[in-house]
Symmetry: C2
Subunit: 336 residues, 2 copies
């Protein structure tokens, strides 16, 4: 990395479905200068998340689409290298939505977390202690409301969010069943993340496998996929079940909206609930989640896997890779 150039990954064209390498472009720009009250952050790790698909699509979403030619929005972890704010000093390590780029000049209000040096690996703050872990935490506990002895099923269970959901549910005394694609991921679910059972949606007959894995039915379904996986899960819901809609990884495009079996009758007969969740809505409570998660990590109750790519050149194809299912663990890009 040259220290007088800011490499950025910008959005070149707008995908309708999953963003591919060709929708991005790596450009070099001059180093930004922090304004008064700002700090200059040198990014060390860039996050790669399934939700980024939604951020570049033109269809209505929970945030404004990334503009064409704009730096790709992303969570990052970086070190302050220049400061024009009295309370922040060079060397502080911070996280924020600082984008796929080497450097960002940002308002200190946009810093999400200042990392204290407690021995936790830095990269964990973009995964298990970042948005992924917090999404799992509030989605499961607030929307899912798991009770001891209940059965919690998670899709993309080996993934960054799903693996946290399973472990939190286990900590709360639930039976945990993970759904993942392929033998490596189901093994990871069982061996690394402690799921009581794991179902391979590529190999198993889902209906049969779910019946076997969930002899008492399903009380909470944490849904990261939508699609055929969810269609199979819904048939096994218990009365008063809760479905937490966190992601739709199995649906390649929502324009037009794809067809699936109608859910109304399942929800009515089972008096069940489906609820979409976004971590933004828990902004006031994040510290509560971080404290629990960090304690569980220190206690060894919360394990995680990372899939760390090397160099910003890997960024353009990195989201598509997630949807190809090629990562085993939270995907990050180390750029310094």
């Amino acid at each position: 990395m040259k220290n007088d150039v800011n490499r950025q990954v910008v959005l070149k064209s707008r995908p309708t479905g999953i963003p591919q390498a060709e929708h991005f472009e790596l450009v070099e720009r001059p180093l930004p200068a922090p304004g008064d009250g700002q700090v200059l952050v040198r990014n060390l790790y860039l996050s790669v998340d399934p939700a980024m698909r939604g951020w570049v699509n033109a269809v209505a979403n929970y945030s404004e689409p990334v503009p064409l030619g704009g730096v790709m929005r992303a969570a990052t972890l970086g070190r302050i290298v220049e400061t024009r704010h009295p309370h922040w000093k060079a060397g502080d390590v911070v996280t924020g939505m600082f984008g796929w780029q080497d450097f960002a000049a940002v308002d200190v209000a946009d810093v999400q977390v200042k990392i204290s040096d407690d021995g936790t690996p830095l990269s964990a703050w973009l995964g298990v202690l970042g948005t992924n872990g917090l999404t799992a935490y509030f989605g499961l506990l607030d929307a899912g409301q798991p009770k001891p002895g209940e059965t919690v099923v998670v899709s993309t269970a080996a993934g960054a969010v799903g693996s946290c959901v399973g472990q939190i549910a286990k900590i709360k005394g639930c039976r945990t069943v993970g759904i993942a694609g392929g033998a490596a991921k189901t093994a990871l679910c069982r061996d690394a993340f402690g799921f009581d059972a794991a179902v391979d949606y590529k190999q198993d007959d889902l209906d049969t496998a779910l019946r076997a894995a969930c002899p008492k039915g399903i009380d909470v379904y944490f849904d990261n996929t939508a699609g055929k996986i969810s269609d199979a899960v819904l048939k096994h819901l218990n009365v008063h079940a809760r479905v937490v809609i966190c992601g739709t990884a199995s649906v390649a495009s929502w324009d037009p909206i794809p067809l699936g079996p109608r859910v109304e009758r399942h929800l009515l007969v089972k008096r069940a609930r489906m609820q979409g969740i976004l971590i933004f809505d828990y902004a006031e409570r994040l510290d509560e989640g971080r404290a629990d998660l960090a304690r569980w990590v220190r206690e060894g109750k919360m394990r995680y896997r990372e899939d760390i790519l090397d160099g910003i050149e890997q960024a353009p194809d990195a989201i598509a890779g997630l949807y190809r299912g090629e990562n085993l663990g939270k995907r990050l890009i180390k750029i310094a």
Copy 2:
């Protein structure tokens, strides 16, 4: 009605979709004798409800299917004509699930309400003060959580449940928008039930009409229909909207489950909730609902329409008639 014969409407064959006249048979049986601790009820009014479709279908439901040859399950209102229980006397008027028949010998534990003579029309206890009104009350207030100033949309808005939902929402300070089929029903919504706007799903372009009727979007959708009406409504949900699934009147058969546009993305982007409700789950709180509803009826804030058929001979075709949309108001059968 002969006083020594019990006419019953029994289930003759099992429909897969909406039960038609030919699925039932009117038979004459001997008068039942109440056992010890029982009372003999002479039914005066029989209820006809959309949910009865589910009670005769073989597919999984929230209650056991009515057996072939069994009396059709139904809410009724009747007078005790013989008692073998010390606390109940002949002449008491009661409601319960006493079925489509002239007489029923029942355990007193199965009496739902003993009607006090406060001048409220008896038939109201099978409608606005019965399951319909209570379903509207708890479904809207508990699952829908409407707040003053919010927009509440109701499907089958001129119906027994929908008309109550609209009026309760209005009492709670909401903007109310009813969806109904045909000019007579939309007029009823506006003129009799006080909806701020009514949309005719048979005549209007739903998407355009909903946009016009809900300029601030939709916060609560009380869904009695599912199907294309719901598909149109979901596009207009606000952030944190609540969808209450109460019925699926527009879906002729759930076997196999029909296809529709997937809902996950709407729910995720809007952090919205869909929840199925059944009045059974509020068994402990029914008195609370009855007290509010009865007060609103007395204060003239809760109006209702009835569609009263004459004679038990009308029963076999009465459910099918609901699904043909031929009633304007709560359908009952007066049999004595």
